[in-house]
Amino acid sequence: MIQISSQSIDIQECIDAAQSERAGAIDVFIGTVRNHNKSKDVVRLEFETYDLMAVKKMEELANQARERWDIEKIVMVHRKGVLQIGDVAVVIAVSTPHRVASFEACQWLIDTLKEVVPIWKKEIYGDGEEWLEAHA
């Protein structure tokens, strides 16, 4: 299951979708909206996505992970739109026969998602807003 979602993410649904009788482990990463960044108080976030390419890139990452680790199922769901503090921004769930692979693959998937998947985060502060990573 690989999706960009404009609705709130159901974490249990993601875990259920990763279930497999061959799996001895499911590692789940949940990215949530933090109320601060560096010294600024964050009021809310907005995610913009290039849906077609984002899903394509996430599918490529899932395929690459399958080449590196023995994986049963991969779930990647990322939000778009306006998110409030505490909301779930992204869920990645990876099931594997043995736990080490699930930890490693899950970390690699979120790390690489942040580098290559066309999703943009704007933080809104009390006195302004900023697209993250945009400037040097």
Binding site: Y50, M53, W120, A134
Partner: protein
Amino acid sequence: MIKYKISLFGITRDIVGGTHTSIEFAQQANVESLLAKLRKDFPRLNDIRSLLVAVNAEYAEGNFPINEHDEIALIPPVSGG
């Protein structure tokens, strides 16, 4: 003239204004010439840490040729997760 329609995301949407922009070339453009023209027309694009182009939902660079009906997107630094 060849008219290219470009989708804009993130900070490039703020800089250029709007979700899309169009630019015309006398002959077929490639990724490099497209970026150069956009940077000239919208100098604030030069303030961005990096600027990539996607053609038909795939990163492309340099002399990769662009056809009139390709889906072209400007990709500023991504920040998902």
